[in-house]
Symmetry: C2
Subunit: 355 residues, 2 copies
Amino acid sequence: MEEVRNKFVAIKGHINGAPSESDFEIKTETISLPAIRNTSKEYYVIVKNLYVSVDPYQLNRMKAQSSSQSAISFAAPIIPGHAIDTYGVGRVVESGGRSDLAKDELVAGLLTWGEYTVIAAEEEGIRLLNKLDADEALPLSHYVGTLGFSGLTAYGGFYKVCKPKKGESVFVSAASGSVGSLVGQYAKLFGCHVVGCAGTQQKVDLLKEKLGFDDAFNYKDETDLNSALKRYFPKGIDMYFDNVGGEMLEAAIGNMNTFGRVAVCGAISEYTGGGRGASLDMLDVVYKRITIQGFLAADYLNCYSDFISTTTDHLRNGKMHALSDIYHGVETVPLAFIGLFRGHNIGKMIVQIAN
Amino acid sequence: MEEVRNKFVAIKGHINGAPSESDFEIKTETISLPAIRNTSKEYYVIVKNLYVSVDPYQLNRMKAQSSSQSAISFAAPIIPGHAIDTYGVGRVVESGGRSDLAKDELVAGLLTWGEYTVIAAEEEGIRLLNKLDADEALPLSHYVGTLGFSGLTAYGGFYKVCKPKKGESVFVSAASGSVGSLVGQYAKLFGCHVVGCAGTQQKVDLLKEKLGFDDAFNYKDETDLNSALKRYFPKGIDMYFDNVGGEMLEAAIGNMNTFGRVAVCGAISEYTGGGRGASLDMLDVVYKRITIQGFLAADYLNCYSDFISTTTDHLRNGKMHALSDIYHGVETVPLAFIGLFRGHNIGKMIVQIAN
């Protein structure tokens, strides 16, 4: 019997507002290998985490829950002191009797912000965890974001929510982020006119020069978002892929064309309580027959295999670029997470836990 | 050659805020019959108006136009001093050479708030005007609202925008209005659980006792719309047919179920500038995957014949009730219109111009 130490990240208490380092702690627990089974029917799957995802939506789960979304499983509250689940890639240490998993195999799914993920039997049914058939020509880290839930979010949101037609115009906010950078690339490959916004000149340059956006702008340089969008979309916006909410959503609605569509992926400006909610002009929504639709990647699991094959092809032949911002070591998770709300990341924020 | 006097309603200037009688004037013009043609190619259709529709959306067209909807034909600005177009039923005085119209025939379409509608040749292409095959068992006034654009709005909005499933719950605001009263009845006939809100106890009673709503409440009696909706929808709202916008929309979003749908038909609370815009919780929209869709009846002209046959059947066999609030004489149009914004009407506001 062997004992391993598992370091993991927890919140000290609920977080309201923007997160800071002092909100987090690194805890240590001891895991016995092979895992002790309480009865013959109970077992554990243990995964050694390799790469884990760091996403803005986690902040909503860290808040003291009072709003209606607390009832929704995708927004299940994170409990202070406990391990925090997240999408990631790891290697099986113990298969826990699951016939679909074998020791040392790669898996992708719901892991934790920690060195190991321990999954008890009673969690099995609800915990997404599958064998990963990784393409060896691609970095393993791609499977956390571009070929993980960020990618599926971009794919489902663009193809299924926006329902694009060739030649239409697309506006993407937080366009250099994990999801936005992929939406813009899918949209260009599909034949749309794509303009993105981001918060630094470096990001704007990247969108135009590396990711092939038709145009891009720094929203911090604009005093009037409505005029900015008029300038970048003289013929109006057909689709808006919204990652930020707030004032940008209002301005996008004001510049939308008839039968425009808004895919509401996130509202990062509202997560920290720092920004204000979007006050929408409902007359515009009526007269322009705008559709505003919230969605989650999980709704589009039925197009997962299409998404993986299409995206893998594009990545292999260089038609798409996967942007990653990789931190190293479980201790860096809080820093990486905090950075999301300060606009530090370019592309997918990932922490590499082990080699 | 005969001369007839045509009295019609015009606005004196653009209206901002709630309308009042002093915003309107009754003007008189003289029409020569047969209409004088300028060239052999120009002709006029002349219709004697019988019943004309009075609708809240007209107020948006009376404003000094600055917002983006001014570019949209359905919201074309109304010009001070000029005749104001509206949906209505009339009788052909001169067919103007149109082979599909004959003298003395009934027509339905875009008429005016006046005694006569004079349509010049150059308007032909854009002006909706069709022969009306009215069911003689039904009052002609039904064709202005329930079997006109209000009905099509309710029908298209409920069946095509809400996409109902049997057993789902529907919330309807302004439920005793021209559109809301029909939505609630379609929804009940379809097999939904329907709750409506209105602004007087008399209207609430009517919804429950005459129109068969499962429940109804007076929103003016509620201090907290969010709690009110929780009480009336303990299992949440699947569809919200929104006629009012503002705070009611916010409360409805807060009480929606996963995959809920909002059909945005109007935002009367925002028309007069008296109410405030809806400040939506976009996190709710994302996590509950809510779809908010603006629409206009004109988008559903393809289901016009289904709508007419279904609704005519329901009206004839007493399964649906057409509520009308009928004023008499062209001079009463301003009063009827102003009443819409004071909650005076029950059902469709109509002015009978002639017998």
